[in-house]
Structures are given as C-alpha cells and as structure tokens.
C-alpha cells in the first residue's frame, strides 16, 4: 500500500510516496526542484507562506509517480511536530483536506521518530535493513540527541543537547569565521585540510557516563578566539581552526554515540539528521566503534559496534521518512482523527514510551 507523506515542519516543504517495506516511489523536496517558477521565484528559507506556495505543487509532483495518482494511494501521513506551528499547520491542513475528500486513513508522525526510522528506507545501492534494537545519534540543525530504538513504536530518549544543536554549532562557527550557510559542509571541507591539534578547544561534557550534550561553550570559545586573534587570514589558518573545532564537536558526538551502545548492550548504531553527512563524524564514529571503547557485552561475548549511515537524502529533512513512519503506523491499524500540531517534542522526559503513549520512567 502506497502512503502519501507530507512534511512542512521547518524549512523544507516535501511530499513522498512510500510503502511500509520502505520502498520509495517518489521523494520530492521543494527547494530541490530546479524550476522554481510554480512557486513564484526563489523559495524563501522559512515561513508558512513559503510552505503555502510550495505544498500543492510538491504533492502533485509526488503523485505523478503513481499511474493512478491519488487513486493509487492507500493512506496519508503528515508531520505533526515538533516544528513551527504555523508551518506545520500548512501540511496538516492539506493532509486533512485530502483525507476528507478521499476518505483515506490519516496519521500524524513525530518528525524525530521519522528521522530515526529513515535508515530503513530502501534508498541507495546495497541498502540493508537495520535489525532492531539499535541506538541512533540524531544530529541536525535543530536537534541533537541519542535514542534507543527497540521498534518503530518503542523509542527511548537516552540523552540530548542541553543548549545548541550540533548542526547549529557548525552554522554559528561558519558565521564567526565568515564562511557561508549552511556551515557544516564548508567547515567539513576545510577541516579535511587542517591540523585538528592547532587550536586548543574544550571538549564539552565529554564524559562517556553522561549522554547529554552541550555545544554552547565550544561556540563561545571560538567566538573568544576570533575576538582575540581576528578571523583567520590565511587559508591554512582557517583550515586549522575548522579542523580543531570539528574535532572537538565530532569527538563528543562519536564518543557518546558509541558509549550509548555499550551502556544499552546494543552493538548497532545508526546516524540520522543532516550532520550525519559530516565526513569527520562518519570516520570517527567508525574508528571508535571498531576500537576498545566499541566493545558491547552481548550473549555472544564482546561485540564491536556496527555503524549504519543512511544516504544523504534520507538524513536531511524529507517526506519519505514521514511517509514510511506513517505507513508503519497505518499497517498497525492506527488512525488519527484529531491532529493538532505540537512545537516541542513531547518525549522530553527520559524513559520508554509504550504504544499507548504512557511513559515507563527509567
């Protein structure tokens, strides 16, 4: 059964057609469409009115992937939160309207759950499904957290940022250094040519015992360095600063991600969110997973952590993951009649959420 997924929680307006096995028939993101003409020029970065302009063309484009269009769709999934309420409402209203008109079943999806399940989408060559349970590091512009995923509907928060998200820390570093937006890719590129030991920066909350993150102090340390020494003038110096900054950020993410696997006794780690594209992070996570800190006690003895990284388009905001998470909910027979947007992840408390939404505290 093909499920139409709609995503409008933040900057991207997206629609996709996916089934509960993770097959992706269509995966459309507004800002990636070459012809901006239907949207009246350049797509602005945010704001509900940008979603308003983009949502119908994006849904129509996704539906062209099915011979019968909407008639071939068996259910609808839409991002319910967390995100900007005004932006979420655009997707929710369109989803409600289509469901009402077609009498198709409708479910709301938690954007963060969808990110965690995106690794199961059948995208890219040689995709292998990840067996449950697994641990996931979700790091993006707006979120940074570690989760234990026992099943699509049994997800536990293990730790999260106390202040800035990792992607935001990259963006703000790029801003301080006079580089472009988004900051992650450009810092990653420059870091590859620099000396990561050139600049001494704090490793914020680097302990493996605590799975919370804090990146605000790292940003402040860089701001102080720039205030004292100015913006690096040579390409070499800039590369060194980027390499040092990225090393500090990546080291903390990688250590805690692998430590979470050891703590939970789960030798499987997935990366999710836009920061999963960072080459430094991928390399360091794999290095630590294969090293002495990456041995997980299992029934089969000490087992190295296996790392799964989805293709980039599954990491960044997209509707395929929304459609997939929704398809799984629909396949379980779940339906939503009352769909209100929420701005903040309701799963802020730590513990395990049962299917009925009740929390088992740890």
């Amino acid at each position: 059964m093909w499920v139409l997924g709609i995503e409008s929680s933040c900057d991207e307006t997206a629609a996709a057609i996916v089934d509960a096995a993770g097959n992706v028939r269509a995966d459309v993101v507004a800002s990636q469409i070459a012809e901006h003409a239907p949207f009246g020029g350049v797509v602005p970065e945010l704001a509900a009115r940008a979603h308003l302009r983009a949502v119908v063309p994006v849904v129509e484009r996704a539906l062209t992937a099915l011979p019968g269009g909407l008639a071939d769709v068996g259910g609808i999934a839409v991002t319910q939160g967390p995100g900007l309420v005004g932006a979420l409402l655009v997707g929710l209203q369109v989803a409600r309207a289509i469901a009402w008109e077609t009498e198709l079943p409708l479910v709301g999806v938690n954007h963060l759950d969808a990110h965690l399940l995106a690794v199961q989408l059948r995208l890219g060559d040689g995709h292998v499904p990840v067996p449950y349970p697994f641990v996931s590091l979700l790091a993006s512009g707006g979120h940074t957290a570690l989760y234990r995923v026992d099943a699509p509907d049994a997800i536990t928060l293990l730790g999260q940022t106390r202040d800035d998200a990792a992607g935001e820390a990259f963006d703000k570093a790029a801003k301080l250094l006079g580089l472009g937006y988004p900051g992650g890719p450009v810092v990653d590129r420059l870091a590859a040519q620099g000396d990561p030991t050139a600049l001494e920066l704090p490793l914020p909350m680097a302990s493996r015992k605590n799975l919370d993150f804090s990146f605000s102090g790292l940003k402040t340390a860089l701001a102080r360095h720039v205030a004292d020494h100015g913006v690096p003038s040579s390409e070499r110096e800039l590369a060194d600063v980027c390499a040092s900054y990225q090393r500090a950020l990546v080291e903390v993410l990688a250590r805690k991600a692998v430590a979470a696997c050891v703590q939970e006794g789960i030798p499987r780690l997935t990366l999710a969110g836009g920061v999963a594209a960072n080459r430094g992070l991928r390399a360091r996570v794999k290095e630590l997973a294969a090293g002495r800190h990456g041995k997980v006690a299992t029934d089969a003895g000490p087992t190295p952590v296996e790392v799964f990284v989805p293709v980039l388009r599954a990491c960044t905001d997209n509707a395929a993951m929304i459609a997939y998470a929704g398809a799984l909910r629909l396949a379980r027979g779940e339906r939503d009649t009352d769909l209100s947007p929420f701005s903040r992840d309701p799963r802020r408390e730590r513990g395990k959420f049962r299917r009925d939404g009740t929390l088992v505290r740890r």
Partner: protein
Amino acid sequence: MSARLDLVDEAATIRLARALAAALQPGDLVLLEGGLGAGKTFFVGALARALGVPDEIPIQSPTFALVHEYPEASPPLVHADLYRLGDADELDYLDLGDALRSGAAIVCVEWGERFVDALGAPALTLRLTPTGPTSRALDLEGRDALIAAALASPTAL
C-alpha cells in the same frame, strides 16, 4: 531607566536572572542583544529555571525552531530567536504578538533589534558583552521597577 552591571561569572548571571524573574510581568517583552556566544540563551535558561521550568527540560537554543514555549514556567515563558527571520511580515506566523497583547507570557527575544517596530516597546533590553570566558558586562534599559530589581540583586551589591 538604565544601568550597567558586571556579571563576574555564570553564578552572577543566575542571581540576576532570579531577581528579574521576580519583577517581570506576563506580557513583558525582553530583548536580548549581543553577538554569538555572548550568553543570550544562557540568560534565558537561568530565567526559565527561576520561573520554575524543571531541570529535566533543557532550555535549548531556539535558533532553528525560532520559538520555544515553556508553559511549565510561572508565568509562562516564550523564547524566540529572530536571527533567521526574513522580514517583519513573518512575525505573524510566530504568534509572539498574541502572547504579548494577551499578557499570557513573558516573551524573551534574541536578535529582535530589526523588528522593534512590529514587536512593540520592550519592558527590558539586555545587552551582553563578553569580558572574559564566563564574565560579561551587562547594559540594562527598561521599566524602572525592573532596573531597580536588577540593582537590588546580590549581583549588583
């Protein structure tokens, strides 16, 4: 009224936030100014704790989401970051005006300087300037009662 305070460390910032939390009223707009890493979100975090947001709810940077709401605070707290906002029209989608006009919440806004016409007069403006790793110079301007509360706080004495 205006004043200048030296916040010698994070503890001083927390003490000041407590003093201001007791004097702020729902419907008050607080503007926070200062560059990246100046401590704007840190101050709002300290204010949120002083208003009763429990420790297990992190006060995360709102740069990406634009607005974070804390109904757990008493009175409720809204924390916005307009850094990524294109123009004042987009403010309508954030419902900040509703929170201010209805007097439902204390509204803290980072990078709000460009939008003062649309936001209305702030009850308090805080400008943070780093003077060391954890020390800050703080310029305050706003309602007399708020400045008086800041000047009477242990941080200022």
